[in-house]
Amino acid sequence: MKLVVVSAGLSVPSSTRLLGDRLAAAAVRTAAEPVEVEVVELRDLAVEIAHNFTNGFPGRQLAAAIDAVTSADGLIVVTPVFSASYSGLFKSFFDVIEKDALAGLPVLIAATGGTARHSLVLEHALRPLFAHLRAVVVPTGVYAASEDWGAEGLNGRIERAAGELAALMQGLSGSRRSAGDDLAVVPFAEQLAALSSPAGG
């Protein structure tokens, strides 16, 4: 199975990336079958994401990242909290992906912030976004404030969320339509027939 981590962290090293890596490692440990992990760092794609808005098509690196995400069996998405929500870069990446490309995909949502006061960003921003994209969001989201890195509890949430993701990936594996058939056609006669009312023709 293939697991892709999308990290919108900007600094190097980044606590957002760190959280993504810990979640991925926990999912790999928990999964019943081997899991291959790929990390997409949105920082490296920032310019191509902006150009996708002006051009209408993705550059080469961005196209490869989109392919990785849409062909994954599971996704871990991690964003820093900016202005009480996900970062603009994080949202922009998902804005340039085809609208149905994440349908049915298991997704673990996670976020980092300077304080615990923004922890509900998972519930008011990330969960609705991925519900809109018709992804299957695991029940446990993981929020890590600065203080969490030196406190008990984060590890347990990571293990629980990663376990949920691994189980869902296993359960839904193979149920999604294969990626890359965006040019599939409905035979023309069916398209015409669908327009004809019983009285028409």
Binding site: A50, F57, P187, Q191
Partner: protein
């Protein structure tokens, strides 16, 4: 193989002078460009159709009729005619009229348009875009082929005993292309009818164009119109030339950087690397255009976008001189070399008439 130009008809300030042409200037410039296309030996002139500023060509058959009267050989076409928001009855009438006036020197390309509000402005729903294209064209197709049409559909008031006039010249319906950048439904529609398929081939990487063209070719064969290689394919392209490639890049860059569609985006170099845009010498344009065949197969029509982004008329006319004198003669020769004998040319009124007459003889 046919070579020509297609125009969007945008009124854009020239970024190097700040001067914006008037609508009259731009309309007259489009006509001058079309006349020049014939003068330099090109085969096709196509105009876009738009219903919002900063574009002028809202009434393509008016413009094409005027150009028809002032040309002898040029095939007049559209890029595109909005099959979604125009009444198919009016398309049938307008273009049949043009067909008579132009002695058959015309065809047209169906498109859905890319401006959302045009749908409500013309009383339609953009969510039905594909369905409008399918149903409206199905009606248009019948109006040109059946003298009396009884019809009922989802989007237009029914027709009882309706005859679209004038009837097509010599009883031959104008040839139709279907243009689409990314909708497989439209490639499928073109294949179903055995019509042409045109890919704009400007804004997207070649790999995408290749997949759309392959889809159309395979479905064309599926519907029994011929082999995949015999399907009727047209491609767009965008070039800017000077004798020295560095001069071309220096002169075009300020237009590219602020161009309405892709400006304020990637660098000219990145865009040339990722899309079919060529800015350089005539030889570079020849090489890049010949490479289209590698991913689209032997094809029938190549249209270049030359007049946009505020380029002054004088510059565009110079571009057409280079295209007609240095590029197209080489392309004609090179594209003809190695082209299988059973790959047809783009249909014309004469070829469609000959085909009709031969079929009538066979039936008799």
């Amino acid at each position: 193989m046919q070579f020509g130009i297609f125009s969007v008809g945008d009124v854009t300030p020239d970024p190097t002078t700040g001067r914006t042409p008037t609508e009259r200037d731009r309309i007259k410039a489009m006509v001058a460009i079309a006349l020049k296309a014939e003068e330099v030996g090109l085969d096709v002139f196509a105009t876009g159709e738009h219903h919002n500023p900063p574009f002028v060509p809202s009434s393509p058959t008016t413009m094409l009729g005027y150009i028809a009267a002032r040309t002898e050989r040029l095939v007049l076409s559209t890029s595109t005619t909005l099959i979604t928001t125009n009444d198919p009855v009016k398309i049938a009438e307008d273009f049949a009229m043009l067909q008579h006036l132009a002695d058959g020197r015309m065809d047209l390309m169906m498109g859905r348009g890319n401006t959302g509000p045009v749908y409500p402005w013309f009383g339609q729903d953009i969510r039905e875009g594909i369905n409008l294209a399918i149903e409206n064209y199905a009606l248009l197709h019948r109006l040109w082929r059946e003298d009396v049409v009884n019809w009922e559909g989802k989007f237009r008031s029914p027709l009882q005993g309706f005859t679209s006039t004038p009837r097509p010249l010599d009883g031959v319906a104008p040839f139709v292309w279907h243009g689409s950048i990314r909708s497989p439904e439209i490639a499928e529609q073109a294949a179903y009818y055995g019509d042409g398929f045109f890919h704009n081939n400007i804004f997207w990487p070649a790999d995408h164009t290749k997949r759309m063209v392959e889809l159309y070719r395979s479905r064309y064969a599926h519907y029994g119109h011929g082999t995949p290689e015999q399907a009727i394919v047209g491609l767009g392209g965008q070039v800017f030339m000077r004798k020295n490639s560095q001069d071309a890049i220096r002169e075009f860059r300020p237009y590219f950087d602020v161009a309405p569609v892709y400006g304020h985006g990637p660098s000219l170099e990145d865009f040339m690397d990722q899309t079919p845009l060529t800015v350089g010498s005539p030889q570079q344009v020849i090489e890049k255009t010949l490479a289209f065949r590698e991913y689209a197969g032997d094809y029938q029509r190549q249209l270049f976008l030359m007049d946009h982004a505020g380029l002054p008329l004088k510059t565009v006319l110079e571009q057409l001189d280079l295209l007609g004198e240095e590029v197209v003669p080489v392309l004609r020769k090179e594209f003809a070399a190695g082209r299988p004998a059973d790959v047809p040319d783009a249909p014309t009124h004469a070829s469609l008439l000959a085909k009709k007459e031969s079929e009538e003889v066979t039936v008799a």
